[in-house]
Symmetry: C2
DNA sequence: ACAATTGTAACCACATTGGTTACGAACTTA
DNA sequence: TAAGTTCGTAACCAATGTGGTTACAATTGT
């Protein structure tokens, strides 16, 4: 599990923008729904903008909008935009190359972690922001997001 | 991605124990292959022992052995034994319940993250310590590990 | 000109991580 | 029994990452 809540905030923000359907939303207004600081929201929006998922405008009528229709943005897009994967999941120090296991374990581990990560991302790629918005709008159906 | 390397170390340790096939391995010897401190190894071994995956013995002939055959230990077993999932992946503060999205987003997010995590775990559950040992093993590399 | 808004930098308090030292408990052997 | 080895665990440390906050320049519409 990621130890940060940036992905959760990104999904929340994207869902808000989707619900806003074209109207510009300020970071202050978004922060009011997420219940955090506007700067935190702007940091997320900045990452999403770098990934081409939202566009923002400064000034008195400024704010952010989705750059694509909600059905054309997957949670994988949000995940990749927001989750800077530090290369920190393996050994701190390289294992002992004089040990047969230590000498060859790293590429094996990389392959394993890569496959596990791909399985996770495949799942996130199946869900769009439109799905999340629909799930949020039909609470009586439980948390189902994909048919 | 997890921000720690406990899972990587756990797989490394389990693979070493599997290669040792029954012989007792000390934390000092294992630490020599992982290239870390024996206490770090003992912390991992302690978590694995709590999950019933290894058994350890103190004393001059002490050390650790796998509690089950390598083919009966999946990487999911190791992952669950070692990765204390802090409930830290969602919002720090609960979202604003006065906002339709904020009021309903949390269970939706929980469902999404749960499914993504399940996909990852399903993948890890398919791989056993025996598989890792086979992947690591090279016949011309000698029969015994030396730290 | 003015007010509102974004974009960022800077800093802080807090949590987590792996590494290290230390020491008591348990175990084997002589 | 005595000695030596090993585990188990607590305590502490430096490094890192996190979200929250303040501050301020740049941009934009009225």
């Amino acid at each position: 599990m990621s130890k940060n809540c940036r992905f959760a905030v990104a999904v929340h923000v994207a869902t808000l923008l989707a619900q806003n359907s074209g109207a510009s939303a300020t970071s202050d207004w978004i922060a009011g729904s997420v219940n955090t600081n506007p700067v935190v929201v702007r940091r997320i929006l900045s990452a999403l903008a770098k990934a081409g998922l939202v566009t923002s405008q400064r000034g008195i009528a400024g704010g952010s909008v989705l750059a694509r229709p909600p059905a054309a943005i997957t949670l994988l897009d949000l995940y990749r935009a927001v989750d800077e994967q530090g290369p920190q999941s393996l050994h701190h120090q390289p294992p002992n190359p004089a040990c047969p296991v230590g000498a060859r374990i790293v590429p094996v581990l990389e392959d394993i972690l890569s496959r596990a990560e791909q399985a996770k991302e495949r799942e996130l790629g199946r869900i769009t922001v439109a799905d999340v918005l629909a799930a949020v709008h039909t609470p009586q159906c439980g948390a189902r997001t994909v048919a």
